[in-house]
């Protein structure tokens, strides 16, 4: 369950369960995830694998608080201050953590009309207090690394291909260098070359201490980065497995 | 002679100064309130008069409420003692009081005026009574009485300021020729009646009590002596008075008084004379030497 490295965890999940209650369907219940537990240390990469419907995305969304966990604990150690249970923390606290420390790459880029690619990527930096110019500069550098062609930078990404949009999506999160990074099928629409670039970026984030959890239906492309695997099963709890630990 | 005049007035069958004493007292009460709140419009209920509304009944009732046997009365209309309106008002007042009248501004104790302030500086022992057609300075920007009352109460004059701003943007300067809005005692914005801009600076810290009566609109207001009266102006567009372009009065040569333009049908040209007839006469009487020395 726990990574064998000696460093203290940055994230500790215990008994995370998410059940959806659909009042529009007469109160029918749908299980998201059930009794998930794991620890994650800084600089470590944890992969969540499993078939569709096993609740992998639910785990991520519970950590990010897009979902309200039904039960369980999600203990996070922020850069400053005492540890906090993300499942129960005040929304305003969560917003601060999201802005500064916890990044989330969704499966698909949510497009905002009229905002250019550069601005999409730079926005998070601006919210952290970076000035407009520097923010755009850093954004361009990241876009270059992810091989998004420069002539697209001033265009809103609404008409991009899936792969290009996803690279913008990644750029937006990676440029903030979060302490905890949540990835939901980040490489699904990318070709091999792009995947290699992403792996490179993730590796350097790991080196600088970022803890990463990634949902993958196929772990193989990112296998070199992975330090631990949590295998999810539909309808039951998670079974952690993988290199070096049980 | 004066006693005889007073007797004639008594025999005319009217109470002294036409109004009954109780009405006069009520008007004085309203005036006291007006003096206590400089620039604030105080409602009052006008009385029936043998003069129609819109012809100076407000100013008249103030004068009638204040005047006593020893007062000396001057009545002017656009600066002139001789206009029909001034003559009629003066006649009514003297018929019912028998008081002395004068055209000499310096000798009057009560001066009732329509649309002008005398050129001569007034003193603390004089009262200047203004005839006011439209007491509400905010009427330009707000038709509703409920709103204007609220605006005065909350010192919300921004819509009036916007009006001035728009004038400046459109025409380069505020184009209001008379009834220029002023701020009294730093609090209420007031309409000084249709006096020209020329006369507005005379109100500022004047030693003379200024009383304003609007009979048709049923309001009185006041400027106590030595009160700040400041025209609304912007830092980069200060208030200016009329510029007569170097013209002088044809009769007395003054270049320092408010001039009326007269069209001479014979020559087809315009010439200027002092609007304040008393001031002009006195300058003429003052002689050639003074005329030469006038700036």
């Amino acid at each position: 369950m726990t990574d064998q490295s000696a460093s203290a965890p940055i994230l500790s999940v215990r008994g995370l369960t998410k059940t959806f209650r659909l009042h529009t369907l007469g109160g029918a219940e749908i299980r998201g995830c059930d009794g998930v537990s794991f620890d994650l240390a800084p600089g470590r990469f944890l992969a969540l694998t499993g078939p569709n419907g096993s609740g992998k995305s639910s785990v991520l969304k519970c950590i990010y608080r897009t979902y309200l966990p039904t039960s369980g604990e999600i203990r996070y150690w922020p850069a400053e201050g005492p540890d906090v249970d993300l499942a129960r923390a005040d929304e305003r606290r969560i917003l601060v953590l999201r802005r500064r420390e916890i990044g989330y790459v969704t499966q698909f880029l949510r497009v905002v009309p009229r905002v250019s690619v550069v601005d999409v990527v730079a926005e998070g930096l601006w919210h952290m207090g970076c000035d407009a110019r520097t923010g755009r500069q850093v954004a361009r550098e990241m876009l270059t690394r992810l091989e998004v062609r420069p002539h697209l930078w001033s265009v809103p990404p609404a008409t991009f291909s899936g792969g290009e949009q996803q690279r913008v999506n990644l750029a937006r999160a990676l440029v903030l260098q979060p302490r905890l990074l949540l990835l939901d099928e980040p490489t699904a629409s990318l070709d091999a070359a792009a995947v290699a670039v992403v792996i490179d970026l993730l590796r350097s984030l790991k080196t600088s201490g970022t803890a990463i959890i990634g949902v993958f239906h196929d772990v193989e492309p990112v296998r070199p980065l992975v330090d631990g695997i949590v295998r999810m099963q539909a309808g039951a709890g998670a079974i952690p497995a993988g290199r070096g630990h049980g | 002679m004066r006693a005889a005049d007073l007797l004639v007035a008594r025999r005319s069958g009217y109470n002294f100064a036409f109004l009954d004493e109780h009405s006069k007292r009520e008007v004085r009460r309203a005036l006291l309130k007006a003096v206590a709140i400089p620039g604030h419009q105080v409602p009052f209920a006008p009385r029936e008069l043998p003069i129609a509304l819109g012809w100076g009944t407000g100013g008249l009732q103030i004068t009638l409420s204040l005047i006593g046997p020893r007062d000396v009365l001057k009545v002017i209309d656009q600066g002139s003692d001789d206009s029909v309106n001034a003559v009629n008002l003066r006649r009514l007042i003297t018929r019912t009081t028998g008081v002395r009248t004068t055209t000499d501004t310096r000798r009057a104790t009560i001066i009732q005026t329509r649309h002008r302030v005398p050129e001569e500086s007034l003193r603390a022992d004089q009262v200047l009574v203004f005839q006011v057609p439209y007491p509400e300075p905010l009427r330009r920007v707000e038709p509703s009485d409920v709103q204007t009352r609220r605006m005065h109460a909350e010192q919300d004059y921004s819509r009036l300021w916007v009006y001035l701003y728009e004038d400046i943007v459109r025409w380069g300067d505020v184009t209001i020729p008379h009834r220029y809005p002023v701020r009294v005692h730093g609090r209420y914005v007031m309409d000084p009646s249709p006096i020209p801009r020329w006369d507005v600076p005379k109100l500022h810290r004047s030693p003379t009590l200024g009383l304003f009566g609007a009979g048709r609109e049923k309001r009185v207001y006041a400027i106590p002596p030595h009160t700040r009266v400041e025209p609304l102006e912007f830092d980069d567009h200060p208030f200016r008075v009329e510029d007569f372009g170097g013209e002088r009065c044809r009769r007395c040569g003054s270049g320092r008084s408010f001039l009326s333009a007269i069209y001479d049908r014979a020559t087809g040209r315009r010439y200027y004379v002092c609007s304040d007839t008393d001031y002009c006469e006195r300058r003429i009487a003052g002689g050639a030497a003074q005329r030469a020395a006038a700036p």
């Binding site: 529009t24 979902y67 969560i94 917003l95 905002v112 | 921004s158 819509r159 912007f234 980069d236």
Partner: protein
């Protein structure tokens, strides 16, 4: 202005102080009775008190807003969301409740209890409001620059040149052509009128801006432009905003936290993405599932 604190003073919070604290706002249209609040609301399915027939537009609403935060309020007609905004902007007088704004007397004085003159000060210096219909926030017959100047005049500015410069700056930011600055907005398109309204609202740099259905009824391209403008202004000026809309798409775009209102009550309050992806309350689930 040095003003003595009102009797119902609240001491400042121990942690970082929020910008706005709203406590138990109540707005009843009608006489009201002791049963009004208990017998109306989402559980009762109505705003109308069955006993006295008064309308409880807002019942017991409380919320806290941080500086620079964008807060969304979503609900259908009759939910009370617009009434809430109007009470905050003093367009309506609340029946009960308290509101504290940190920039005013360090958040110790209830702004619902102060005199009309002080309310005017708060309204013009600390708050901004953008209405759904531009004619509510603008004088359509005064020039665009004049509308902006009016805000500055209310704050005591008396310099025409400076006001025009500021107006140019604000109109530039809201993408209104400067050569139309001296034209009355009556001649503008709806979208441009809305942008002039936004420019006017920002004239005195208020820390809190209220947005009442600002894009409702507009063409999509106009909506997109206005929303983009609001987002970038909010970010560059650090404005806190409360955005009211019945459109979840607008809320998702603008707000970080959202409250869902029904029948004058808040039925759910949380992070916007949580409200939209994991709604808890039956009404929220209905709302989310009904959006096209």
């Amino acid at each position: 202005m040095s003003i003595a604190p009102a009797p119902s003073a609240v001491p400042p919070a121990a942690d970082a102080q929020p910008l706005l604290v709203l406590e138990r706002l109540l707005k009843i249209y009608g006489e009201g009775c002791p049963d009004c609040v208990a017998r109306t609301g989402p559980a009762a399915g109505t705003n109308v008190c069955p006993r006295c027939r008064s309308v409880v537009a807002c019942g017991d609403l409380s919320l806290r807003l941080d500086p620079g935060e964008i807060f969304g309020i979503v609900g259908e007609s009759g939910s009370g969301k617009s009434t809430l905004l109007r009470c905050l902007y003093f367009d309506e007088t609340p029946t009960a409740g308290h509101a504290y704004l940190t920039p005013y007397e360090a958040g110790r004085v209830d702004v619902f209890a102060i005199s009309p003159q002080r309310r005017r000060y708060v309204r013009h210096h600390l708050l901004g409001m953008v209405y759904q219909h531009p004619h509510l926030g603008l004088d359509l017959d005064t020039s665009a620059g004049g509308n902006i100047a009016e805000k500055m005049l209310m704050a005591g500015t008396r310099h025409v040149g400076r006001m025009r410069e500021r107006a140019r700056e604000l109109l530039g930011r809201t993408e209104v052509p400067l050569d139309r600055m001296d034209e009355p907005p009556r001649r503008f398109s709806g979208g441009m009128q809305q942008r002039v309204q936004i420019a006017k609202t920002l004239a005195n740099n208020p820390p809190l801006v209220l947005l009442d259905e600002v894009t409702t009824g507009q063409d999509v391209s106009v909506q997109a432009r206005v929303l983009d403008l609001i987002r970038s202004l909010g970010r560059s000026l650090g404005l806190a905003m409360i955005a009211v809309s019945h459109d979840l798409g607008v809320i998702r775009l603008l707000a970080q936290r959202t409250a869902v209102m029904k029948n004058g009550r808040i039925v759910e309050l949380g992070l916007t993405d949580q409200i939209l992806e994991d709604p808890q309350h039956p009404y929220t689930q209905l709302l989310v599932s009904s959006q096209l």
